[in-house]
Amino acid sequence: MLRYILRRLILTIPVVFGILVISFMLTRLSGDPTDLILPPDAPDSAREAFRRTHGLDQPLPVQFVTFVGNVARGDFGDSLRFHQPALDLVLERMGATLELAAAAMAIAILAGIPIGVIAAYRRNTPVDIGVRGVSLLGQAMPSFYLAILSIIVFSVWLRWFPSGGRGTWAHLVLPATTLSFQLVALLARVTRSCMLDVLGQDYIRTARAKGLGERRVVWLHALRNAFIPVLTVIGLQVGFLLGGVVVTETVFSWPGVGRLAIQAIYARDFPVVQAVVFLFAMIFVLVNLVVDLLYAAVDPRIGYK
């Protein structure tokens, strides 16, 4: 087990390196940020000075080597706009983003899996159709539209929740629900689909034949076996969630990394973009390592070579 973890960690090294290369290339492709960061009437001498300070006058390979060397020491450079270490800027906002993503994931798991199981078990009954209809609607609407509608309905009309910002957990309800909506629908679908597979299998019939209670059969035996693809989807959707915060945070003025990232992309603030991409990638890699380990816990047939 420990060896497996170690091996997995070593295997992430090329992934991390690849991510560094891509994020470096991407940000450099988008042109010299000097013109964007300095005001239009800055004299040429100020432009030169800016390029020198930020190492933009060096050839690209040199910039890349410097970049990787610095990252190894945890230094992504200073934000071109904020003049603060990029990593600090990102970490400062990471709490807000993780809070939002975790809340959304919790809602998705707590709502999506039971919905999927019930839909599969009561297949083609009105319950199934109703549950599927509602969950499908969640996938059928662009999240920004859903977000704006929910602000109009729940904060302007009903005055139940604040329209944006972070603070009490009332602030969390609208953004987390909007962010989770598509995930709920996805998890419900995948769970239903996998449960249908499993419920038709021999051992379920055997279990039923043995006289085990329906509840036990469905929730324990069947769900456990349907769980692997569901788990895979959950792991994969961490990336989706971290991407989804870009829109959700913008609409709900949530002070997180997604908003910082989009501003940074627009302003060509390289160091910040790189720090965000890198940290998001790391979170994703770690979560999926955990998911892989969970596979074994759920399904003993899967071993670690």
């Binding site: 904020f82 139940w160 929740f161 609409v251 709900f252 060509r268």
Partner: protein
Amino acid sequence: MPQRILFGAATAALCSALSTAAVAETVTIAQNFDPQTLWPNGTTASDNLNAGSAIVESLFWQNPATGEIEPLLAMDLEMVSPTEAILTLREGVSFTNGEPMDADAVVHSVEVFMDEEQAPAYARVSELLESVEKVDDLTVRITLSDTYPAFELALSQISVTPPAYWQEVGLEAFSQDPIGTGPFVLDSWVRDDRLTMSANPDYWGELPAGIDELVWRPVPEDAARLAGLQTGEFQIVKDLPVSAIPMLETDDSVSLVTVPSYRIYQIGLSSHPEPVSPLQDVTVRQALNYAIDKQAIIESLFFGRAFALNGQVLREPQPGFNTDLEDYPYDPEKARELLAEAGYPDGFEISFKCPSGRYAQDREVCEAVAGMLADVGVQTNLVLLEPGEFLRQLRTMELAPMYYVGLAPQDDPGFQASQYLSSWRYSPIANAEMDALIEAGATEADPEARIQIYKDLMALMHEQAPIIFLYGGVDVYGTAAGISNLAPRGDGRVFFYGVSYE
């Protein structure tokens, strides 16, 4: 389970509503962006300046109510000669850390302002400032390298900082935790969330009545700023979407404050040798001006909340505004005739670049313009650019031949005019006659002569049509009932002098 969530949330929401009601003296302002810096000379972006200058004050300020430059930390300006100025400072003012606001502080502040490494954003404004020296504790001499008609405007932008604290922490730290003489002091700043200030009890002037706490909130989405105003979460909202005006006009709990903006919206028609385009022909440029129904854009897209330009880039209150000029009338027939005359009886095809999400209604304006041009045979290939890419292409001059842009230079005709000077890197035109007038105006000391120069320039520019003269913008602010005397300025600046809240 779902019921419990909802019930709990409703209670929590209720609690937060009650707690905000308990501290009625808090005023929350929603703007588009979180400030990057609170040092006013670190930036020219209004969202930054608004927050920063509630803490750090300047020597003078341009009062939006009167349009005049009025004393703030300086009491008086005397021009001993056209290039030598004596400033008398306000007595008995100190910074909130106890340092005195005196000649030493002002000399330090002006020196920082003049340093283009530290204050690159103001390099053009400080260009003609040569040196600064202390005369006595409350008197400072500033020497200019040439006559500078917009000198007072420059003085209104020099923010005064405490020298000892500045030395101690440096520019970067100062911009995150500034100390000034202003009506408010910084309490806390959660990036991208809320910036909280409290009233400065030792303020030298009169504090805004009824405001103990000022909270600045960055809210990028138009719909969310609007929603927060309607729910009472925000007392002052900057840049409301124009589409919300009809709805808010019927809402008693909210009032609208509209201010003609300094921003002049125009379509740049590059006549430079590169890239080659039909726009090099002045007849074509005039034809395009005839093809656009400016009034329809103002009435329909802006619900009348925009102003006609009268075919020039100076605004009516500015010296040099030419009353003889009028907008090119909307006349598609004439446009087609002129195009035929220029050798394009069937029109032509041209690329048209436009920002998406940078200005109010930018996409809509561009689509409307493209449609009107199509009516006279000019097929545009509309390219929408995200704000960052737009800015990049503007700065690298990749927008030509045709682009939509809103330019908001400082409130002096000299700055407005210099945007069409051939040596100015972003000018759409290179015209020797225009250059001569622009350069003459920049250093003309006699106000009357200067006005005449700019009048002539506007007439010439109208005829040369380096741009399609579209409209002047109007900034829309929303305030909660209870806020009075809020008078924002046309450059997006919001001041709290004289504002009250009950």
